[in-house]
């Protein structure tokens, strides 16, 4: 957080180096977020590209309401949302997004089998866009409900409701899979 404030300050005052550092710091997280939201790796790269070009264009005019991470993440979410409206919704078949076999040195809590991952991925794909987006922004990107609400110009209660309904639906879908 501290480093981000300094990076933003330098960025607003003409530092190309700061812009580069911001990109290096957030590029992978933002790409992962864009892929999660759009289900399309190539499209996700374009989203991240557009986000950074627009960010660079703002320069000294940039005004952050929340954190830099929140700003960039919601910029990605906005573009992913616009992009998905133009496409037929695809199921999350993870094409183009390779699932890496669990590394042997990864803690168990971070390891998920391919089968389990496909089940969860399919369940997420069945959620309404708004619910899935809130879940991804909160659980993958770590944004707070208030930050998501500010970015989407809705109330915190609305965001929390979407989140709660989304989780409930996921649970019922996955419980149904287990029963099979």
């Amino acid at each position: 957080m501290l480093e981000d404030k300094w990076l933003v300050w330098k960025f607003k005052h003409g530092s190309c180096n700061a812009l580069q550092l911001i990109y290096e710091k957030y590029k992978n997280d933002l790409l992962a977020l864009a892929i999660a939201l759009s289900n399309d790796k190539k499209g996700a790269e374009d989203i991240v590209h557009d986000v950074f070009v627009a960010f660079a264009q703002l320069a000294s005019k940039l005004q952050l309401r929340d954190s830099l991470k929140s700003y960039l993440s919601t910029s990605v979410a906005n573009r992913a949302r616009n992009s998905s409206r133009k496409k037929v919704k695809l199921s999350l078949d993870l094409d183009g997004v390779e699932i890496v076999a669990p590394a042997s040195n990864q803690p168990d809590r971070l390891v998920m089998s391919r089968e389990e991952s496909q089940q969860v991925g399919s369940a997420l794909a069945e959620l309404p866009d708004q619910q899935r987006e809130v879940i991804i922004l909160h659980l993958q990107s770590g944004l707070k409900f208030k930050e998501i609400a500010n970015a989407q110009h809705v109330s915190v209660n609305t965001i929390q409701s979407r989140y709660r309904y989304g989780l409930n639906k996921l649970r019922s879908i996955l419980d149904g899979e287990v029963e099979k």
Partner: protein
Amino acid sequence: MNGAENIENLIKKFYATKRSSVTTSDEMDKKVLNDALAVYEKSNNSESANLQPNVWRIIMKNRITKLAVAAAIIIAAFIGINHFGGSIDGASVAWASLSERVGRIQTCFFKGHSKITGGRLGEKTQEQELEFYLSSECGFRFDTYMDGNVNMMQYVIPTEKAIVSVMPTHKKYMRMLLTDEMLREMLSKGADPRETVKQIMLGEYTHLGESVIDGVKVEGIETTDPRVGGGQFEKYLARCWVNAETQLPVQLEMEIENSEGPNMPPMKMAIILDNFEWDIDLDPEIFEPNIPSDYKMMAEMQMPDQDEGSAIQGLRVFAEIASGKYPQKLAVMDVMREITEAVKTNSEKEWQSQIISDPNFKPTQEEMEDIRNKTMPKMMAVQGTCMFYMELVKADKDAAYYGDKVTSEDVDAVLMRWKISDDEYRVIFGDLTAENVSAEQLEELEAAISE
């Protein structure tokens, strides 16, 4: 764990698995940066996409900014200690904190004003005027004035590898010797401007927006995070106002508060640094102490290293003075106060038999001076411990100190610890042995302290 937490953990695990395999390609990086930088340069009306001039300008100015802001921190500690020094000439102990801060700069001059209330002063106020001279070639000089008279002049002299403190009103001076490494660090620190600014900006900063100071448009930042002061102060507020055009500081403000023990109001200090002049011609003579021949040298001491060994030595020295107890806190001002009290208590014990036989007994000036001279190296040793701890705090090493609970008799208790890797801590125990322990072991050891 309830159902909601289960599903949340499952989703987190899902995204963590996916995230671990996602990285941008070189081709993507190149395209994004090329396009973004092109737009950025155009937006800023830059003449060239070449990084060097911007970086150079930032390096030059951030080094000076770093020095100026760091100087404010030093000054606060120095003035606080000076104020606290009391009957033992505590002013000298500020050298240790000064010496580590001087970086490589061209030249700079600025003035300051400090105001102290509370502590030993009670309701009274002590005000000092300050003047600073900085030169990359000649060193550093810091003068304090009270009621128009110079109170102390401190010099960092690279050619002598020494810090000299001169007190004209007492006609005394002291010398602190530096190792090559210390001097090198002082003169070269700041090679990476981002790193040096990070060192200053340890806590969360708030952007204050724009203002005008003396007709100059400025932007300000503020922090209240005590880590910025190395954990030396209980309450801490610092503001830095920078000329938006030149990116150089125009004014630095600090407000500090520290408790001074029972039965005393907290010590409060406010400092303003302003009148900055950059890259000016400074006569090298300014940096020569030119000590008159009738001045007496109070002491010549070696600055302690800031490493684990010196930290342990400082704790050992304190325990010897304080009957096996360690400093309650590792803030320099608090430690100086504790040492003063311990030395007074020990001296009174020594003179007890004389006091009994002669109720009017008072130690002679020579005896008092002898105590001061013997105490100062001990103060320096313990100050080394404080500075080591301060660096750990500033470097966010998850440092903790339990001197208020642990004594030299608690051989297996954790006295001090800091993080050395993801799962490992370095621990100094009550008997001043040191070991590496796992995070899990530390948790058990620290639980024992609380019991």
